[in-house]
Symmetry: C2
Amino acid sequence: MTDQAGQARRYTAQQLEEFIARAFVAVGMDEGDAGTIAALMADADLNGSDGHGIFRLAPYIRRIREGGLNLKPNIHIARERLGMALVDGDNAQGHLVMSFCAQTAIEKAKVTGVAWVGTHHSNHAGPANLYAKMPLAHDMIGLYVAVGNANHLPPWGGTDMLLSTNPIAAAIPTDEEPAVVLDMATTVAAYGKVKTAAQRGEEMPEGWMIDRQGKPLTDPERAGEGFLLPIGGPKGSGLSLIFGLLAGTLNGAAFGEDVVDFNADYKTVTNTGQFIVAVDVAAFIDVGTFKKNVDAIVRRIKASPTLPGFDEVLLPGEQSRRKRADYTANGIPVHQGLYDSLEELAAEIGIEMLAYS
Amino acid sequence: MTDQAGQARRYTAQQLEEFIARAFVAVGMDEGDAGTIAALMADADLNGSDGHGIFRLAPYIRRIREGGLNLKPNIHIARERLGMALVDGDNAQGHLVMSFCAQTAIEKAKVTGVAWVGTHHSNHAGPANLYAKMPLAHDMIGLYVAVGNANHLPPWGGTDMLLSTNPIAAAIPTDEEPAVVLDMATTVAAYGKVKTAAQRGEEMPEGWMIDRQGKPLTDPERAGEGFLLPIGGPKGSGLSLIFGLLAGTLNGAAFGEDVVDFNADYKTVTNTGQFIVAVDVAAFIDVGTFKKNVDAIVRRIKASPTLPGFDEVLLPGEQSRRKRADYTANGIPVHQGLYDSLEELAAEIGIEMLAYS
């Protein structure tokens, strides 16, 4: 089935998950690990994080085939105090490392109230919100920050690409309202959006990128000639720097010049850094009171009249939830360019392709 | 002495500090507390945080005289676990509450590696960087977030002013280079900058504020008719919301509709919320290695060629350090509007005015 524009097939999350797991197993990953990663990647697609789900499968597989990823990792705590841990990801797929870190942070926060767990020798882990949301089930707040896996912007005013989109995600538990889930790059657009625009043959709006002369760049095929723009100019640039120092340098992970462009180099260990913070709400305030108070704020915000040009006020995470509802009912769209690349991948590694849809 | 434009007298930090302390003592504050606050306020001025230093003295004093602040507070830990504390500020001046919180966070982080200390019943505490910098002397990273003391923007797309500039500050220790110190509102401009523009009779650039029709607003005298713009549109709005939930709601402090506009109401308890996180670098990595690595990143960034229109690449905190050097050598500028308001204040509470400079 193709969508209204005739450009995308649609699949269930389970279909994508099974295909993804097949692919990882075919290149030598344990079934358990493959299943964990596939479930998180399909969940990313279901949430509308379309630059971070099955879209990334081919490059992930390529990294494995070129020897850039450790398929038999020993993910372990390298340093530890009561309220923190530094996890050595042993060059495993980031989804595995961050799942371990989230669990570690949750267990520690049950005791200390707040726990911070960082990584080194991790890898790309998909969308930030996946991990920020993990503490929610424990009535905890989750925060997650990562060093992006390729530098796409210079420090504000410069031209040497030393910074990445270094995203932050935060997830706040609620009572009856859906959780508040922010997931944002420190740039106006995440680079995944540039890549999906290129794959779909779409033009980028002005404001996403500039060229080396500081002029707007709107052709995603020319993305390599320019820079992403940080939000708020020096502010977003400053946030990217601070997040990079916290998620990278503090953990002994790559940041700045050391960042390996995972879109260009599939062999070198990326030494990716991330961190997650779990905040146990019960340490601060009665959990029921907190959730009801967040609900009240969410409802008050939704009740705000709108500015000219807006139909409604959207909370962080709301668009993603709507996509999830749509994709759950109607399937996750897989555009032609992505479909072709998956077909090529399936042939290459000898696995059954997604059913023709 | 007036400056080149003939519009500002200049004073030493010590002169400002003594004047500020005199003012607080004159309205009934203990000398010790007055000295603590005065030192932090003068330090803010010396750093160029001109919307957060002596500029705030008259409204602070007015709040005290109208009974809105507790001069004999019992600032204490209300809830505590190993890695966190919730501090009841007992409606004290925010500088006192946050100094207490920073110390608490530092002591806890020595044990747990990371510690998070939040406040309720605090008050405005001046610029965020003051507190984020406190852990630096202990080779710790400091992070600070506050709920702003007046709502100046709606959630993205709305018109009900439910959000504030909710700032974040981060301070990262270095070896030979100056510390990296980010201090930013989640809006393009902090409201203090609007107020100083108004006091100086200056126009605001487009992009700081919009009116209720969504059109640019550049006259700071009309600020009450419009909204501050968040950085990156929905992203800055989302950050402001998350920071408000973390610094306000989680702590049982005001956020959203509950926020008391401290520029309009000098009597009602503000129940201001803030939090500070201290991260002990030694828990993650050898301190010397970390500092040298941050130095290297700072130097690499400074060495970047510049975009057309830029003379150099500035690190977060660099402009502030230059102002500090200038103001230390030449005095802190006090513009005529501010001077007049201080003269009026001095007469009102019967203290000696700043020397005529």
